[in-house]
Amino acid sequence: MRGALLPLLVLATSLVPAVVIFFLSEHAWRTRTAINIAGAVGKLALVAYMLDSVAAGAEYELRFPLVPGLDFLLRVDALALLFVTLSAALWLLTTIYAIAYLGEGPHQSRFFGFFSLCVAATTGIALSGSLITFFIFYELLTLSTWPLVVHRGDGESFAAGRKYLAYTLGGSTSLLLGIVWLEGLVGPIEFTRHGTLAGLDSATLGICFLLLVGGLAVKAAIVPLHAWLPAAMVAPAPVSALLHAVAVVKAGAFGILRVVLDVFGIGLVQAEGLGVPLAAMASLTILYGSLRALAQDDIKRRLAFSTVSQVSYITLGVALAGPVAAVGGLVHLVHQGLMKITLFFCAGALAETLHIHKVGEMDGAGRRMPLTMLAFSIAALGMIGVPPVAGFVSKWYLGVGGLQAGQVWVIFVLAGSSLLNAAYFLPLVYRAWFVPPPGERAGGWTPLLAREGHWGLVLPPVATAAVALAAGLFAAVALSPLGWARLIVARDYGL
């Protein structure tokens, strides 16, 4: 019984705060903060407990029939836990950050309510054990994110919100069509029952794969379905962090992981030749996103296009359909989250504290906000793939995995992407550290002038950057993201 209760508890730690916060008065700042933090810490504790037991081979399951044959199914397996852990940890930090970022702004109950709901949906996505449960939470995520995207309530936000909805709802339609089609043929699809699709003909499989992955690709921001993501960067920084690192984009990528690994199965994907086109699309996205990022002058837009590029690494990893590459994709799910959230935290802090929004305004930022920019630099270097930051580990596994899967071109995609990443990240780092701030002579640096923002804006990025660094430096530890990804792949491939 406790086994069945745990997934529900994990879900409840963000769902219950969400509901409670909705009904709190706008002025109940202290209560709201307490509930938020308590939920986040509670979730983290539960996740930590489960990490330990799942590593030892335990699996939790909660089944609740909605109508006969349509089960609401939560399952905790290693892959689910990878995502849950990421979202739980980043939720805590993002909450701290958001509390500091929003300060005294209006509509906070609404904001934090949907914020928690968003995380609940993400948790649900991670824990769902069947396609339909996945879809339920996937949609919940779409809807709970919209109010966050339009939180500023101005014309630009609503335009972004409209774009966001148009894309994501279109994507969900495709996804639902795919699910309905498949389930119409073979009945309910659960992630543990492999091989249910084996009897279908190639055309149906191909179309359904296209529908499912095409639908998920919207959230995963695969070109040409990515346009909502850069538009959505008008949202407040914590929301961007959530969109780009924790929830939305990740949900899409995670969905693709599930579809490839657990719905179709690697074997079927390979046999039907579905992996290579997907890998090609992912590669195209990787390069296109980077190229577009290069041309952006707005820091957050640049980061947004960078996400477009980086998230496709995850897709690329699973699409290559080899164990090593899959490890690369899986581990990038975590690594990208850590690094990208750091970047967005920092961008938000820069905007809040120094009113820096454009690349050209970054001059000397490192001298004025050394800790923030240190975190930023670590994350940026990680994105480029510089060891020992986590991004390197992902790239290494993707490259070696691609080679072992016989796809030599992959390493050139990685190389091109790394160069482009460097080309759009390094100028920021360079300006921050090696160009004197406006109004200061070259070569002058008085550290006393440094003025970091509120501690709530500094601690989260520093923490995530430290974790990103540690994830790369201690990658070989069993409980590191890499170790966990290896565990997943070992179990999935029956190695």
Binding site: L66, P68, G69, F158, R162, T173, L177, E183, G184
Partner: protein, 503 residues
């Protein structure tokens, strides 16, 4: 012969469900300003009766009751299967919400004019009785009476605010509804002439495919469609529903149109399953598809919120008719039987909750802002957060997105459509969902917009009204979280045609 419930087989809740409201209506008329108190007393009681009836159906299976002990064809029978029970309970719950909402709008403090208040509560009770009669009747003529009673209660309700345009709308409504009733009656006459009975159970045994039944089926269906406002017969609905007071609109849109839909299903699945053809099913579904697309696009371009909601009703009614050709489709891969039928009915139920909530919410915005022009409702979300939330939750169900009753319903319909190879209906449903997203979010967008100065409601909005709206919206969501109970109840006494299909 169908088994007739002996009086001692169980308490006749089925009779009480009809008698209670009708008696209430009669009693309300002389009560004047106290009609409200009576209604507020009766409606919760009615909910209890409805639940007891449902429990009876759940425990004992289909409940039939011969009025006065006379069995058909001589007597008149009432029958409650799972479908009826679900609808009766839905009605009671929606009415409870509406009554809670209306108890302050339609009250007549001593010294004030009582006409509107008396009329509203009396009509509400009458409408309720007519609805229950329609859901529980097993005799086509009885059903005709129920339908007429419904019309006679609904039309004045639509014109409670006696403005020129609402009066005109009500008249159009009345004429169209009457035309529909007459067509229905004509069909019933033909059936009686051919088979000598109007009892549904007996008809199902006797009626065969021959010209008389064909004509009767066509007449009755067309008449019922006119009352359901299925595209292209929807002309009367938007002005009538949008012009009525919020509480009235909610009842009209949520429940009244469902009664005639209910009768279509009774006719097709229970009374004449052998007569209907697959082609007719496709025709009905085509009209439904037309309604979905047409209604949604028009809803998308409405300037006023209540009209938007009304056109959304036109669209949502379309989904109900998609189930007709899908029933019996592709059950092999699915672990459930009669998916499309159950899905259609669940859709009717969840739409009832959602639409009631939406109309009430629209009414509150209208009350607070003094108008319901969508673009000018900026900042209302901050002023009425709970109502906005309710509007959003109800919208969830209309979109067919989880977690909501609308999603479960749509899921059942979709899987059947795909499994039976009728993918085109699935595409229509998808398109409808996207369009619904368009109009729901178009309405939500200005509500959530941030304004320079906080918007204050022009007239205060009582808290209990907000709770009533939210409660109804939550019902539609709850149906998506725990649909198992209504789903199982639906299967009691399910017509065979629901599983095997029509034609």
């Amino acid at each position: 012969m169908p088994p007739v419930a002996a009086p001692e087989a169980g308490f006749p809740w089925i009779v009480l469900a009809i008698l209670l409201p009708l008696a209430g209506m009669v009693a309300a008329l002389p009560l004047g300003r106290h009609a409200r108190a009576l209604a507020l007393l009766l409606i919760p009681a009615g909910l209890v009766v409805a639940l007891l009836l449902a429990a009876q159906v759940w425990r004992e299976g289909e409940v039939t009751y011969a009025l006065g002990g006379w069995t058909p064809p001589l007597g008149i029978a009432l029958r409650a299967d799972g479908f009826s029970a679900v609808m009766v309970v839905t009605t009671a719950v929606v009415l409870l919400g509406v009554a809670l909402f209306a108890q302050s709008s339609f009250r007549a403090p001593p010294g004030e004019e009582t006409r509107a208040a008396l009329l509203f509560w009396a009509l509400l009770l009458g409408l309720w009785g007519a609805l229950n009669a329609a859901f529980l009747g097993n005799d086509l003529f009885n059903l005709y009476v129920a339908l007429e009673l419904l019309t006679l209660a609904a039309v004045p309700m639509a014109s409670l605010e006696a403005r020129a345009e609402t009066l005109a709308a009500a008249l159009r409504y009345l004429f169209f509804a009457l035309a529909g009733s007459v067509l229905y009656l004509l069909g019933a006459v033909l059936l009686y002439g051919a088979y000598g009975t109007l009892d549904i159970t007996l008809l199902a045994e006797r009626a065969g495919p021959e010209p008389v039944t064909w004509a009767a089926a066509a007449l009755m269906t067309a008449g019922l469609l006119a009352k359901t406002a299925l595209f292209p017969l929807h002309l009367w609905l938007p002005p009538a529903h949008a012009g009525a007071p919020a509480a009235a609109s909610a009842v009209l849109s949520a429940l009244v149109v469902k009664a005639s839909f209910f009768l279509v299903l009774r006719l097709w699945f229970d009374a004449l399953p052998g007569v209907m053809t697959a082609a007719a099913g496709q025709l009905l579904a085509a009209l439904g598809a037309g309604a979905i697309l047409f209604g949604s696009v028009l809803a998308l371009h409405q300037v006023r919120m209540k009209l938007l909601v009304a056109y959304s009703t036109v669209a949502q009614l379309g989904y109900l008719f998609l189930m007709v050709p899908l029933a019996g489709g592709g059950g092999a891969a699915q672990p459930w039987d009669a998916g499309a039928w159950s899905g259609g009915v669940l859709h009717a139920v969840s739409h009832a909750f959602a639409k009631a909530a939406m109309f009430l919410a629209a009414g509150l915005f209208l009350r607070a802002a003094g108008h319901d022009r969508i673009a000018e409702l900026r900042g209302m979300g901050a002023a009425l957060p709970m109502v906005t939330l309710a509007f959003g939750l109800a919208g969830l169900s209309l979109l067919g997105l989880p977690p909501s009753g609308g999603f479960i319903a749509k899921w059942l319909l979709l899987t059947t459509a795909m499994a039976s190879g009728q993918w085109w209906w699935a595409l229509v449903m998808f398109a409808g969902g996207l369009l619904a997203a368009g109009y729901v979010f178009r309405a939500l967008t200005p509500l959530l917009a941030r304004t320079e100065t906080p918007v204050l409601p022009g007239r205060p909005v009582p808290r209990h009204q907000q709770w009533a709206v939210l409660g109804l919206a939550l019902c539609s969501v709850a149906l998506g979280v725990a649909p198992l109970m209504p789903f199982a109840l639906l299967q009691v006494g399910r017509p065979e045609a629901a599983e095997e299909g029509i034609g």
